[in-house]
Amino acid sequence: MIRTSIVAAALICGIALGAAAQQSGVTVSDAWARATPSGAKTGAAYVTVKNMGTAPDRLVAVSTPVAGVAQLHTMIDDNGVMKMRPVTAIEVKPGASVTLKPGGFHVMLMDLKQPLAEGQSFALTLTFEKAGPVETKVIIAKAGAAAPAAMGGVNMGDMPGMSGK
């Protein structure tokens, strides 16, 4: 009974907060993806997960309507050989955050329904072992971007008026 109302309250909270989805102590923020070349069947999405609770939690699944298959993957640089591997879960310790970013953990999107276009967005659901599903909005940055557009990545090109032309 109490548990149900907490979940309900958390759900309402999550809806009210909108941008920073929050549920059972886990927040998901700065979700972004790279635009994909036309015809591409795969893509990658990145996100920051913070555990606000007092117990460890684990990100165990991901899903999105834009891809037939979404998985947690990691990229291992083994002496210059890049190895991409699926991972079963990503642990988030209490009070800590984990950032999925290029060259490491990422949400691997396979069987893309359509190319991811720069400037657009899509929904991504992250499912945690304890916190359950958390939905977030993923903003699409340019192909190969190193960071989300809003955060001003290092490779976003010169700002207008600063190019010295």
Binding site: A35, T42, M82, P86, P102, G103
Partner: protein, 202 residues
């Protein structure tokens, strides 16, 4: 007697190993001291460009070539590197005309010329994407000492992913000889700075 003989054999073996290490690691004296070497990287190849033209090791001999291997299913490592190359071209300004980045697939079964064209265009239209028959790709990968391995993954497109070396080879104009490597750690700024130096010295 036996002891000193063993010592001599040991010493000879040691020298051979050190020599081999110096040889393969590319720490050869000369050049700009960063991986500049005289070991054989690269060689003759015949591949296909997105527009259907045949490209060989002679095709871009008038430019500094940046040769990089990857595949289009790769959503994390390859885009990062291609984006740095695109950034380097941007920073080079007019000197970018003296540089030809080449992205060669190590996954010829899935990467058609069209797929390669669409893929590189997303980063910079000046990058050329090449594919070929499995034999042609195996040959060029061998020449560039690129490690390639097919890894089964039931959820991946067609059931597999590829492990591959992520190194950018810099080949000089004229004889097309290998002069340096960039890695996944090399930023667009660093690439542009080193290429500017190479271009200035040539």
């Amino acid at each position: 007697m036996t002891k000193s003989r063993n010592l001599l054999i040991g010493l000879l073996a040691f020298l051979v190993i050190v020599g081999a290490l110096v040889f393969v690691s590319g720490i050869w004296p000369g050049g700009d001291g960063q991986g500049v070497t005289s070991i054989a990287i690269g060689g003759p190849y015949k591949l296909e460009a997105p527009d259907g033209t045949v490209v060989t090791e002679q095709s871009y001999r008038d430019k500094w070539q940046l040769v990089y291997f990857g595949y289009t299913i790769c959503p994390d490592a390859c885009p990062t590197t291609l984006n740095e190359i695109a950034g380097a071209l941007e920073k080079l300004g007019p000197d970018a005309a003296k540089v030809q980045p080449i992205f060669i697939t190590i996954d010829p079964a899935r990467d058609t010329p069209k797929a390669m064209g669409e893929y590189v265009k997303a980063f910079d239209p000046r990058i050329v994407g090449l594919t070929g028959t499995p034999d042609q790709i195996a040959a060029v990968a061998r020449e560039y000492r690129v490690y390639v391995a097919k890894v089964p993954d039931k959820d991946a497109p067609d059931g597999y992913l590829m492990d591959h070396s992520s190194v950018i080879y810099v080949m000089r104009p004229g004889d097309g000889r290998f002069v340096a490597t960039f890695t996944t750690e090399t930023s667009a700024d660093q690439m542009a700075a080193r290429l500017k130096k190479f271009i200035g010295n040539s």
